[in-house]
Amino acid sequence: MAAVVAAHRDELVELDRVIGDGDHGENLRRGFAAAVSTVDGSGPVLRQVATLLISKVGGAAGPLYGTGFLRAAGAVEGRPLDGFVVASALAAALEGVVALGKAAVGDKTMVDALAPAVAAAESAAASGGSVAAVLEAAAVAAAEGAASTVPLVARKGRAAYLGARSAGHLDPGARSTALVLRAFADAAR
């Protein structure tokens, strides 16, 4: 996952440069790189990653990603991993992000990627999908959700300062969310 983020760092930087302040790619790269070098598999991995994201990323994405991972960790810990658990972890992550950031679908944020991912994951789980299938459905929906941010006018985060001028650009946080879910899905295959 860190590799995926690192590989897309410049793309995310560029997306954020245009409608934000240009740090999103570097922030996430730093955070996931720290996670890779620190998390040792000794404890609950998701929880460790969450803590590292909160303490290494900064910016808006740090607390939002961190909270998402933290809530997801709470939803999976102590439960055998199956499609339902994965879907509920994603739902918990979304709930955490929304509770903190107060963004709704259509505000041109990571929620626009995460919310459809949750919906897709839940229906995949309901139709008996495996962990891999649920994550694959989430990743596909997140990519579509991210793409849907292009025409939107931002109502949350820095891009909102641009008003109408934020339309026509992909939201960096939605894009990174889709990338992270894609990495999960690929890892689960």
Binding site: V13, E14, R17, I19, G20, D21, G22, D23, E26, N27, R30, I54, S55, K56, V57, G58, G59, A60, A61, G62, P63, L64, L100, G101, K156, G157, R158, A160, Y161, L162, G163, R165
Partner: protein, 339 residues
């Protein structure tokens, strides 16, 4: 991208090393986690003031750490808010038993990270309150007005105001501070490598913030008189009373603006505020205090020190103290008088 740096990844820490040797009499610098505290921290019995945010806005906030102003500043990466663990460490280092006030510029990232930090500090039993500054009239961001809030609170806290009083004073000043910015050329974030926006040879970005994000709209560069009068009007319409308001005017450079342009603009701003808007300019400050890397441009901030008609008579004597607090001695790297 041309900059006098070693490499993008170490800019913040490399600059802090220089800041530390330059001001060893005023501050101590922690590098892991990164924060800056006044040399004599913690000051027993005084409300501690902690601010912070992304780097690239220097001297804000590190240059305002010292007697009469901030107890600590917490710099994040360039244009990236600091993380909660940095903030909590700074809070621990300066808490003097009378509580800690966090002064936060209104950005999603700053607000979230400072709020998480406040929760963590509270959980450790440290009394913490948070003040959000949103003086930018275009998009309610925290910009140059933040320094006025920090100076006035610094004096109030030094004078013995308790945590709730500090919060109340801070809210009052923050809600009476109005700013607008313009850019002639954007700065370049070191790890991005190209500027936040690129302007034509006669274009400006009007209504910019301090993170290289494009502004409210692109305009043609007009003579200073027209440009700055327009900016002054944009803040003046926000004033509670207008005519008769006693104000402080801050003309702030964005990092790449030479003093000759700042003074020129300041003259226009003051004259226009007085002549067209009837305000009384009680205090003023001109310089590059809240910057955006090497961005060329400036902001105009007006802070109401007293608005004769909006305050109940019994409140006025307290509010008149804003001038006194502004004038009170301060000894920091970037603002210094009276000591």
């Amino acid at each position: 991208m041309k900059k006098i740096i070693n490499e993008p990844a170490t800019v913040v820490v490399d600059a802090l090393r220089g800041f530390e040797v330059a001001h060893a009499d005023l501050v101590r610098v922690s590098y892991d986690p990164v924060f800056v505290v006044r040399a004599d921290a913690p000051v027993r019995g005084k409300v501690a003031l902690v601010s912070g945010g992304g780097s690239g806005h220097e001297p804000l906030h590190i240059g305002f750490v010292g007697p009469g102003m901030l107890d600590a500043a917490v710099p994040g990466e360039v244009f990236t808010s600091p993380t909660p663990d940095q903030i909590v460490a700074a809070v621990r280092a300066v808490g003097g038993g009378a509580g800690v006030l966090l002064i936060v510029k209104n950005y999603t990232g700053d607000v979230l990270n400072f709020e998480l930090a406040a929760e963590m500090a509270l959980a450790e039993g440290i009394e913490v309150r948070t003040l959000v500054v949103a003086d930018d009239v275009v998009a309610q961001r925290g910009v140059a007005g933040t320094l006025v809030v920090e100076k006035i609170l610094g004096a109030a806290a030094a004078g013995g105001a308790d945590l709730e009083t500090c919060l109340e004073i801070g809210r009052h000043v923050a809600s009476h501070a109005f700013s607008i910015g313009v850019a002639l050329e954007a700065g370049t974030v070191p790890h991005v490598g190209s500027p936040g926006f690129v302007l034509g040879p006669a274009e400006v970005e009007y209504g910019v913030g301090i993170h290289g994000e494009p502004g409210h709209e692109r305009q043609e560069l007009r003579p200073a008189r027209a440009l700055v009068e327009g900016m002054a009007s944009e803040v003046a319409v926000q004033l509670p009373v207008g005519r008769g308001d006693r104000v402080l005017v801050l003309t702030n450079g964005m990092g790449g603006t030479p003093p000759v342009e700042l003074y020129l603009a300041h003259g226009i701003a003051e004259r226009s505020l007085v002549e067209h808007w009837g305000v009384v300019v009680e205090r003023r400050l001109v310089g590059s205090f809240v910057t955006s890397l090497e961005m060329r441009g400036l902001s105009i901030t007006v802070v109401v020190l007293d608005g004769a008609r909006i305050f109940l008579p019994e409140e006025r004597s307290r509010l008149a103290r804003l001038v006194e607090w502004w004038d009170a001695p301060v000894r920091t790297a970037a603002l210094r008088w009276g000591m």
